[in-house]
Symmetry: C2
Subunit: 307 residues, 2 copies
């Protein structure tokens, strides 16, 4: 009576696509309400206005159609949808569906972390079969411990989904706890070490990369190199490239040689790609050209960095 | 032109109410789909079924009406609503509104944590004026650092809302990182120490308790006592009482003498109160009696513990 579930291994699918495209760019979908171009705006764009989520949806659909075929994965940031209430979550579900129709992988940036049946609730929400928001991978916060991560790794094992554990973040305050010395090495290294056992069985048969990955800020290249030595097979999700000050070269510091250049994860850019200043007040054609240009610039910088 | 915002200081409001009621019980709203009584169920209660969120709403409205006037605060667990997709979030918003109508404070258990504009998005979603889910307080994860908490403390300063930073959680795995030695004390103590500066300005003028609180599991009473000495004015949210094995006496270990017994936070119970086994298959009257009994038992155990 058990129904077979179509199983795609996240790390294999992602790395195969990155090799084909020859760049590791991930487009972050952070719909800042005050940056959405005139073209898509409705009314005052107040979070509580029912039309706002529809405007965000129009904007993101147009964006997804523009970038389809050019990047492996998009990363919606949950907070920007949550701030719009239930209509925002409906928009998020629609955006995930549209991305899948356009053959884009979806990595949901939600940084969830909780225990027991609550963690199971998050698995059901975002990863399990029939999930309301059926992402291909999700970001998680490790603070609560390995038993809090276990329901997610179990799901990843069963269905091939991906999980990215926040390890060393791109913000200045990431030093407050992550860098503190724990028995001879910084906390973020301890977190990575403790994930070895969970990462191993999630290794992709095709590429050798694990669907258990780490979030490692582009602003900390030395730390990325250390983390790579601790977890040689973990995908890295690298935020903080561009707007937060990390260079393309810094962003791929944890990558290693592969069949199509350096590889080992994806580098996320949001503002720099989805809100090119030139397109702010433009008509549709001009806006599309501005997106194309911004996308090309980001892709080429990263393609160059992995060469 | 600036509109004055009605300002209630969360810690003052909570502690005043706890003193009147003479017990620190907080009722956790964790609507496990498989435990919702027959009385409220619709269809198979599959997460993807549109009727499921309506059944959850009926159940929680009936529960809130039953407990109104008897507890200070309820704690909806976000994951159980998120698993129902946008309809679940609409139900969460309705539950928060209904709780407020019934004069119950609402502490949203979401354990969010992110940086910069993303953290601002979470503030707008749950705490800011006009928030889609207008909670009175929220739980936060500290791993990303103090700059990630800053948008929440700024909002708390301005509007009086409460924030509870996850510090020492009730699960066995909380030892994996939280207990590790950082320069002479466990990480969870370092987290508490680093919050002193942010907690101080959030002190309530009426009760002297701060609206910056800590999440401290009932299963770790010794650690709660240590944390109380580090942050004498921080409210504790104590989960893990009952189902997870913490006794009433253990749960209030971080409390201190006040005008109406020991005080210093709230102790959360979910399953033990909202899913009394006796009421599972009953009619409405029998179910109500089962809830009343479970609530009385939980209240009295905690009232006894703070005496």
């Amino acid at each position: 009576m058990s129904r077979a579930r179509p199983r795609t291994h996240f790390a294999d699918a992602l790395i195969r696509r990155v090799r084909e495209l020859r760049h590791p760019l991930c487009v972050g979908l952070d719909p800042h309400l005050d940056r959405i171009p005139e073209l898509f705006r409705r009314g005052q764009m107040a979070p509580a206005d029912p039309d706002t989520a529809l405007a965000v949806e129009d904007f993101l659909f147009a964006l997804l159609e523009r970038i389809a075929g050019q990047v492996a994965v998009v990363k919606p940031q949950s907070a920007f949808f949550e701030q719009l209430g239930w209509r925002g979550i409906r928009t998020l579900a629609n955006v995930v569906r549209r991305a899948h129709e356009l053959d884009l992988l979806v990595l949901l940036d939600a940084k969830r972390g909780d225990i027991g049946s609550t963690a199971q609730g998050y698995v059901r929400a975002y990863l399990a079969q029939g999930a309301a928001i059926p992402a291909d991978a999700i970001t998680l916060n490790p603070y609560l411990g390995l038993d809090a991560l276990a329901p997610f790794t179990a799901e990843a094992q069963q269905s091939g989904k991906g999980i990215f554990v926040v390890t060393k973040t791109s913000n200045p305050g990431s030093g407050d706890y992550q860098d503190r010395d724990v028995e001879g090495r910084p906390l973020y290294e301890l977190v990575a070490e403790s994930l070895r056992e969970a990462a191993e069985p999630l290794t992709g048969p095709d590429t050798g990369w694990s669907s258990l990955g780490l979030v490692v800020g582009a602003t900390y290249p030395e730390q990325a190199a250390r983390l790579r030595s601790i977890l040689p097979g973990a995908l890295f999700l690298v935020p903080g490239y561009g707007a937060q000050g990390g260079s393309a070269r810094d962003a791929v510091r944890g990558f290693v040689p592969g069949p199509a250049g350096l590889e080992g994860g994806v580098v996320s850019s949001s503002r720099g790609v989805i809100f090119p200043t030139a397109g702010e007040t433009a008509d549709r054609i001009t806006w599309e050209k501005a997106i194309d240009t911004a996308l090309t610039v980001a892709k080429e910088a990263l393609a160059e960095a992995i060469r």
